[in-house]
Symmetry: C2
Subunit: 374 residues, 2 copies
Amino acid sequence: MIPGPTPVPESALIEMAKHPMAHRSKEFSNILKEVYEDLKYVFQTKNDIFLFTASGTGAMCAALENIVNEGDKVLCLVIGNFGARWAKIAESRGAEVIKLEVPLGEVIKPQMLEEALNKNKDIKIVTLTHSETSTGAANDVKTLCSIIKKHGALSVVDGITSLCAMEFKTDEWNIDVALSGSQKGFMIAPGLSFLTASEEAFKMHEQCKYPSFYFNWKEHKKSLAKDTTPFTPAVSLISSLHTSLKMIKEEGIENVNKRHKKLSLALRAAIKTIGLKLFVEDDNNASYAITSILPPEGITVPDIRKTLKDDYDIIVANGQGSLENKIFRIGTLGFVCERDLIMAVGALEASLIKLGYKFEVGSGVKKLIEELNK
Amino acid sequence: MIPGPTPVPESALIEMAKHPMAHRSKEFSNILKEVYEDLKYVFQTKNDIFLFTASGTGAMCAALENIVNEGDKVLCLVIGNFGARWAKIAESRGAEVIKLEVPLGEVIKPQMLEEALNKNKDIKIVTLTHSETSTGAANDVKTLCSIIKKHGALSVVDGITSLCAMEFKTDEWNIDVALSGSQKGFMIAPGLSFLTASEEAFKMHEQCKYPSFYFNWKEHKKSLAKDTTPFTPAVSLISSLHTSLKMIKEEGIENVNKRHKKLSLALRAAIKTIGLKLFVEDDNNASYAITSILPPEGITVPDIRKTLKDDYDIIVANGQGSLENKIFRIGTLGFVCERDLIMAVGALEASLIKLGYKFEVGSGVKKLIEELNK
């Protein structure tokens, strides 16, 4: 129950075990063609989606390394570790970075963004994180990107854990560059990432003095038009993705979004019922991909994680950085259903009792079931 | 029978079908630790090996994007498409590139390199390809790197198709930066690549103004010391590699090298026996990973490829770029044994007869067997 790698459906796993296809074969091109189309459906965009053999961070580099020139002003909206990563990538290309930060667990308010943009009229690019995996908070991408658009800057959105888990409308929300990774809502193993860029973003790309070679947008666009990739891709992962995308299409992206929202909000209600505190208090600021929880007084995060692992074979994530051992995080992302959550909340209750926490045992599962049956 | 993706042993394929492991778990760290060690064995180096979730071209970027500054003089030894790729990557970082080129099918002679280095005393980096997959020729890396070292420049060697197939001694041969990819001699699916850098290379890295973020050497070194990776890696591919590396160690890298040499030279002898021409005429300049062959008069490359594919389910590669339809290429790389080659040569003979080529049928297989039994 971690926020990635997430569970992989059997049909997608089996694709991985097949002999790697010749990457320049007609058979593989046919798969790639469908994958490119299905990714557009998930991203809800009419623009091309580029497919990189790389982790999600690779796609983040692919975003900035195609548009940033030395000295460019980049505004980074930081609500946690992954927001801070944007700033590091921009700096690695010589950008002048301005950080807009909030305390961990909180999100960027529209008015803060307005002020920052008004103060720095020459900001070229604004980076933001949709679902911040390190805290479990989620920015209101729709509102923030409309503000960015109004100010004439380019929006670059990390949707690594949010795609599929949360509503994400690239074109309708005026997102210029959007990206995600394979081992999250896409339900396959890590190793692939995806990026789409608007016409405006491509115009900025044309002005980039030293665009990335490996992640080069123009080269990827050229290859894509011929149903291929510029370099040998991770063919096994792409075949696996081909299968999982069909599952997403069959369920329907709106239904996939709704399932995540329902599971996540039910989990939050259950956690509150057993008396534990949520790190992101307001449901409106919560990611539907991951829920961060504070341990009860006198019980440590390592104790909870160890009991869940040893006695119930369930892994939940620790906090990252300054949040290590302060919170634990439960992922409800990808190939996850009600059964999994009943198991997780039940096992959490069982662990807490063993660790000496006093509460009404069963009340979390009861609340969870009530919420799921609504 | 293409030069990658190459056949994957069943034990390595099965690892791919397992549920992706949590990348920060102790279990996965243990696997990673062994993989890092076993890669050092294959590269024959005492230095760290960095593991990237990326194609081989990603590792090529990882080589230059950690050492090249704008305006640096880089000498690129070009004997084919992959040698030319080095020049493009260097240029993408603003380097001043000098190309030393030879006609396709030939290799760089030591004296040519000496002259080029003498003419340009301020060359900082020299890039070269060991086994040039596009032509089937192989540079004498040992001799060339000793010359580069003598001149005080840094050598950067693409070993993507050569590692395992050919003798490759990173430390003994004074190679500063060496790299390879997973879907070649390492016998797994594409999606991972590897790089090692000498102390001298690291010194140059320290002077790099805008080193790559995703492929950053220092960050990879830091993570490696903790048996982890800076970003979520392709865990399934790493588990698969863990298995294939054990097979390589069991066979012994010297024996793996010998097997490739024997298969490749036997194939060359068989091809000559049936009267076809080898694109790389001199055995001393031939790659043991891939053999480029000219079709006989009046028969086209597409005809040969189509017959092999349709009637015998065997894929051989076409030529690339200006060599398209002029040569076809047979890979003898990775998980390939005598049986495979007997099949390939037999099927090639059968195809040629069908296509109307006149020769002594069976003579190729006979010669092959004689050579293999020597």
